[in-house]
Symmetry: C2
Subunit: 429 residues, 2 copies
């Protein structure tokens, strides 16, 4: 962390002012109706469509800088905003209008023996900070989901997307203002750079929750440095265990879908554990299909012996077991049974998603009970750990920690609760 | 924080070994039935009664050291364990047996359109650390509530209670072992002193949650230094606003009960705000009763003018508004109306409990909506924000933060959830 003492006083003052204003906006949002929030979301969708050309232009400046700095084609693709992508973002904003507003719902209610009516009511979190990398769509994503739940946001995107983010935040602020909500509902501190992020991580008086979105390095840095409460998201060292009783069809389908359907995301498969008694039956077919899909396999000789002759298996190392490839690569290991599978997963899990493929009801139960992760699956693709698939409408990320929200985080996970005690003069004996 | 580099390697190794063993115990506890956990709790209650004499003897050593170090009588009283108090602690352990086990309950369940059965199931948190001051009853409190929820604990009590805590933890570990659960379910790191606490705060790989219990300094230090997720508990700068429509009886009863029923606890009243239009009607009686109860009042001349002649009002300063007296002291302020009351509370609230006394339904609604705190009351004593009063059976503390648990934390708040996906080969398109 940049020690507070080293940060320019202008940065401290600037970010603190933004955070204080965001807190004031959050107080206003706490009493804003669903209809008003939805009107703001509609204004945002409209504003994005109307300002599409300006956003594309700002994005072109970022892309040009990216090319100049030798950014890879896949990173440039993540950074790119064209008319079609902006239209898709505007559509996604309108979809958030359809998500039910969690604010004001009663979580629990009872009348106490003394007559006090006790209600646990869902309320906005307040001010949500987000620190993320160069994907400008995240700017809109987080701002609109937070707004639906009645929260103000302070955004810190990657510097590689600074022109895009500045333009997007300007569009969002104008839209929010056009329906008479405070512009300070949505804020960026990109102009204050890395030091601004340090100030944000220390703004415990104003910021209620900080969400880092990005790679492991970014997330670990925020966890280390932030005194604002953090929710870790998105690190998925995901395992699948093929039990001896698994059918070939299930094993092949689930491995292939889990690894190749979208390898760059956190719920894709990274390590495959195969019961040694199932290996001869299932692995040749799995490896053949993985090869055809262009997947690089890391494994020992016992696995390599079951691969097609044409397939080159890379020697697996301890490092592979801990690695989130996020690419067409897979570590494969034979295990002596479910106990070794559980032991391996316990040693290397990131607590995201772990799946067993089995026909044995006892092993399914053992696996589900023994594995400590946000999501544990039986005979399903790992790709189902997803807010959209779970029916949340949209997601802010997948929490891999145990506090507050575990697994996909939708709009409801951006709220907290308040206990309301209504009485008529009750005192305590 | 003591920088990791300055900590003796023996301390790092020792605390890390304890944390690793606690995590292994937690894995065992995750598959432990309610009956087994309740048997352990019964063994703990029995063990406390049987070892009463030894615990008293260990406590006497702490008391003697306390006297030698000039500890105040009220602190010595908090530290003291006699046969009667140990019997009361044993009884409280048996009461925890009666609290329903939250583990295994379904929070949410649905079948997705693709046929996957999705269940959000309550599971133990894992390993819970606690850092607290010289109240040895906290050692038992936290260990048993955590155990009921299937968690292992790592305890760091105040050094002034080290002999008492060592004996208590020894009794608890023997009891847990006697029912064939791992002794490492309950651990102390008191032997490693302050540096041990620093290692604990950095043990993110093994510890899932850290609860500081004590004064503001202790809590702030843990929040600053810990990279393990923390839940802040127990800072209560509690306000009550007497609206112009409040009845004299409600105003007097509620202020007196809130301030004097147990002034040393976090839900007792610290600042009274009175609508200037109600002042003449309610304040003379309130001040008379406060004087009779021995309460020192801090206020301006406008309040002093309404006090009995015999009463000495201390001049209030800005510092008083922010202060948690935890004693028979109260700050009093006249406000022009509900808006000023809300503004004052927003500026000084610790987010614990805030109460309005009113007969006006609109003002009640405005207050409840606008105030951002764990508990907001209408016409009730502030003293009701309490796990026991809320029907939780027992409480670990009152959370004043918004993540995970807000307000009284009982056994359920020491759990997390796991998503279970059960399918028959579903893949994602």
């Amino acid at each position: 962390m940049t020690a507070a003492a080293d940060i320019h006083p202008k940065t401290v003052r600037g970010v603190t002012r933004i955070a204080r204003n965001a807190k004031a906006a959050a107080a206003r949002l706490a009493t804003t109706s669903t209809a008003e929030k939805d009107a703001a979301l509609q204004a945002i969708a409209d504003g994005l469509r109307e300002s599409s050309a300006r956003i594309v232009k700002a994005n072109e400046a970022d892309l040009a800088a990216g090319v100049e700095n030798g950014m890879s084609e896949s990173l440039l693709d993540r950074l790119r905003l064209d008319e079609a992508r902006i239209a898709a973002i505007a559509d996604s904003v309108e979809q958030v209008i359809d998500i039910p507003d969690p604010v004001g719902t009663t979580v629990l209610g009872r009348t106490l023996p003394n007559g006090i009516r006790l209600t646990q009511s869902r309320v906005p979190m307040g001010v949500i900070g987000a620190i993320y990398e160069a994907r400008p769509n995240v700017t809109v994503d987080i701002a609109i989901l937070a707004l639906k739940a009645g929260n103000a946001t302070i955004l810190r995107g990657g510097s590689a997307a600074e022109h895009s983010n500045a333009e997007l935040v300007a569009v969002l602020r104008r839209a929010v203002e056009s329906v008479r909500l405070p512009a300070d509902t949505i804020n960026t501190i990109d102009q204050y750079g890395r030091e601004g992020a340090s100030v944000l991580m220390n703004s415990r008086d104003y910021v209620d929750l900080l969400i880092p979105r990005g790679g492991a390095d970014l997330i670990n840095a925020v966890v280390q440095d932030s005194i604002v409460p953090v929710i870790e998201t998105g690190i998925g060292n995901v395992h699948m265990f093929i039990d001896s009783s698994a059918t070939v069809k299930n094993a092949v389908d689930l491995v292939l879908n889990s690894k190749t359907q979208r390898p760059s995301v956190c719920n894709s498969l990274e390590t495959l554990l195969v019961h040694e008694k199932a290996a001869k039956r299932v692995l040749p077919k799995i490896l053949e299909r993985l090869e055809a899909a262009g997947v690089v396999v890391h494994a020992d000789a016992d696995v390599a012996a079951l691969a097609p002759e044409s397939m080159r298996i890379r020697r697996v190392s301890r490092r592979d077991w801990a690695k989130e490839y996020l690419d067409l690569e897979l570590a494969v290991k034979l295990v002596s049974g479910i106990d070794e599978a559980i032991e391996h997963i316990r040693a290397y899990t990131s607590g995201h998603t772990e799946v067993i493929v089995t026909k044995d009801i006892d092993n399914a139960e053992t696996f589900v009970t023994a594995i400590d992760a946000a999501a544990v699956g039986v005979n399903v693709s790992t790709r189902f750990t997803d807010g959209g698939e779970f029916g949340f409408g949209a997601e802010v990320g997948i929490s891999t920690q145990k506090l507050h929200a575990r697994g996909p985080m939708g709009v409801e996970q951006l709220t907290t609760t308040k206990w309301i005690m209504q009485g008529n003069g009750q005192i305590r004996d």
